[in-house]
């Protein structure tokens, strides 16, 4: 009698190179809309230097993610790489830090999406109508939560179109801005006479890193990407370069820009363009739209569409925080790093509803904490006394920078760990500058760039802890709370608490490569394993 077999359903590999790029771009590309104003406000004449330092670190981060996502094309991202390289508890800490980032991502980008909309709808301006602003952001967060619970997500095609429009638009703004409004003497003047104090420069650098957060999205979509080991390195490198070009170009243009229309302060004194941002949270939240409007001639058109495009891109990024957090929680739960409840799928909607609602609730708590000083003047004095007056965007940016710096630090360590413990996995993309050496009988390559990247991102983490009062308190508190929950969960489930669970990484890696369609790499991996086993057998028999 014939037997019927039914294959397990797998994620379809429908994401093309542009699709993969746009998944990352809709997340990272939105960051400059938030980061530019904050960095100009903090680092003043050294904003371009702050972006350059963060950009160099970001290139290292990007290269690390590229190598890892191409070698392990699974839907887990940073926490999976760290878990595999360093063990369960470190995987949990990295994942928990990413979860903090994703919840902040939801609130921060919904907040700035409303800020950009306020450029066309002044009633949404936070400083004038804080309650309207709060209600609008709250409605966006709840709306995104609801859409994700019922299973409506923006499609890859929609992401692709918005990303294409934005790349085109930003390239136009920058090219025309440099062409028509750039005065090198203004840039030099700003760098000479408005150089910030070391404290402000550290603050600016720690904020600049938030312009480069979101590479995680590409590796998360790895399981749905066509030929991930070949495509992801290209899309990641292209994303890294594009974002780096935009960030450096924006910061230099902002410092050296001759505004189309004169900008004056309350006393009627003329201001340079970048001077619009210090002490003006409203302006900080919509810096790109303000810059685009000051490009001669083109600004007339840009003033109309850039706020809309920015608001849409920021909303997509906010949405990526909602489903990204549920995805990470699902992956962590599958690896026994989080309780199984985060894997539970809603019967009707077939979505991880509990996970979505849980992390959206945390996003709402963060929103309330950020909005309270604006809503209640009495609270503002409390914040001024205990948190140096940080509120709103500052609070969200603090935690965003903390989460990113923490998770990226662990990803670098995870990369070093995997280079040492898993040298047999074929790496279609390998970070340059490596030291060949032997480790546990295998030839390995120690990555110098990962060490440089770790030093860079760890210094940004220290800058964040030094300069961000709220980040210093709430970031480590989040991690501590998570570790306590993790320890309690592992003890309850009778799993190794500080050790890692035993896993058959060899079979898992073979299966990962088979499922991703990288058959040539799978053959290479199996050949490497065989050769290694034979070498070990020969060594032990010789001994």
């Amino acid at each position: 009698m014939a037997t019927k077999s039914r294959a397990n359903p797998e994620l379809r590999r429908t994401v093309t190179p542009w699709g993969s790029f746009s998944w990352g771009y809709s997340d990272v590309g939105a960051d400059i809309f938030v980061g530019l104003g904050l960095v100009l406000a903090a680092a003043a004449g050294a904003s371009n230097v702050a972006f350059l330092f963060a950009g160099v670190v970001y290139v290292c981060i990007g290269l690390a993610y590229t190598e890892l996502a191409a070698t392990y094309p699974v839907a887990g991202g940073g926490q999976y790489f760290v878990m595999r390289g360093l063990g369960d508890i470190f995987g949990f800490i990295a994942g928990w830090a990413v979860l903090l980032d994703f919840t902040i991502d939801v609130t921060l980008f919904a907040w700035t999406s409303v800020d950009y909309s306020s450029q066309l709808l002044p009633s949404l301006t936070n400083s004038i109508h804080p309650w309207v602003h709060f209600v609008a952001v709250f409605a966006l967060v709840m709306g995104l939560c609801l859409l994700n619970v019922v299973g409506v997500r923006e499609s890859t095609a929609f992401n692709g179109v918005v990303s294409a429009l934005d790349v085109l638009s930003e390239s136009l703004i920058l090219c025309l801005g440099f062409l028509f409004a750039f005065r090198p003497s203004l840039l030099i003047h700003a760098m000479q006479f408005s150089w910030p104090s070391p404290y402000q420069l550290m603050l600016g650098t720690s904020l600049a890193i938030i312009s480069f957060v979101g590479l995680e999205s590409i590796s998360q979509a790895a399981q749905e990407t066509q030929r991930p080991a070949s495509i992801i390195p290209r899309t990641s490198v292209a994303l890294i370069l594009t974002i780096l070009i935009f960030a450096l170009a924006y910061s230099n243009l902002a410092l050296g820009m001759q505004p189309w229309h004169p900008i004056t302060d309350a006393h009627g004194h003329h201001l340079a363009f970048w001077q619009m941002f210090p002490n003006s949270p409203d302006n900080q939240g919509k810096a790109v739209a303000l810059l685009a409007a000051q490009v001669p001639y083109y600004g007339a058109l840009a003033a109309l569409y850039v706020p809309v495009l920015g608001a849409i891109l920021l909303l997509i990024s906010s949405n990526s925080g909602v489903f990204g957090s549920s995805r990470i929680a699902y992956a962590m739960s599958s690896s026994n790093l989080l309780p199984a409840i985060f894997q539970r799928v809603h019967r009707r909607f077939r979505t991880p509803a509990i996970s979505i609602v849980f992390f959206s609730s945390i996003a709402v708590i963060e929103l309330v904490f950020a909005a309270v000083p604006g809503l209640f003047p009495a609270a503002a004095s409390f914040y001024a006394r205990f948190f140096r007056g940080e509120n709103g965007l500052d609070f969200l940016a603090d935690l965003y920078a903390f989460g990113a710096a923490t998770s990226y630090s662990f990803v670098f360590l995870g990369l070093i760990g995997l280079r040492l413990t898993d040298p047999l996995s074929p790496r279609k993309f390998k970070i340059p500058l490596n030291i060949p050496m032997r480790f546990r009988g295998e030839r390995v390559e120690f990555p110098i760039v990962a060490v440089i990247g770790f030093v860079g991102i760890f210094s940004i983490l220290l800058f964040t802890l030094r300069t961000h009062v709220l980040g210093r308190i709430f970031g480590p508190s989040w991690l501590l709370l998570g570790v306590l929950l993790y320890l309690a969960y592992r003890r309850y489930r009778r799993l190794p608490v500080l050790q890692s669970r035993q896993r058959d990484w060899r079979n898992e890696q073979t299966e990962i490569l088979r499922r991703s369609g990288e058959l040539e790499l799978m053959d290479e991996y199996l050949a490497n394993l065989k050769e290694s086993d034979q070498r070990r057998a020969a060594g032990s028999s010789g001994a």
Binding site: S171, L174, F182, S230, I231, R234, A238, L241
Partner: protein, 209 residues
Amino acid sequence: MIAWGAAHISVAGILAAIIIAGSVGSTLYWMLTPPASYVQKIAKKAETELAEMVGSLIVAFSPEIDSSHMVALAVKLARGEKSEVLALYIIEVPYTLPPDATMPAEERIALDVLGAAETIANKNNVAIRTETIKTRSTKQAVLDVAKREQANLIMLGSFREGKYTGAPLSRIIEEITADAKCDVLIGVEGKHGTLLLSDESVQSNPQPV
């Protein structure tokens, strides 16, 4: 520095604009043109061969060749590759009759078959020509037309009625396949065969004895 209306044009600004446009454009171009994998190269070759195969396409009919179910497939292939279809009906005239003998019943069937083919093609917006040929040998007529048309593919349908003759797909079809200088695609409807049926489906749909 040149002031032009509200614009301030500088050499550094022009250089920066060119560098930004060039680097973003070239980065994206490089990203979108990855080298093909081995599997993709095989797929590309197969697609090219298919495009050549259906460049000129003949669907042949005769009383022994029932290709009615192949017309829709031929039209779909032709539409994808923007090629032309020739629907050919062969009436085999027996040696007991003169070569141009009138055969009203067969000619009527030919009109129906070719009319149906035209309807399917028109519905799918595919160019189709129809032709009826009277001949002593179906095989030779199909091969001659294929040569005349420089056909890349001949499509034939089969009943599998000739299975007891030692030529399961009928002798004419096997001879055309053996002698044709182009590709031949033979379609056998599942309902005429038993090879694809599992035990379970045979049990659930018992065939009449």
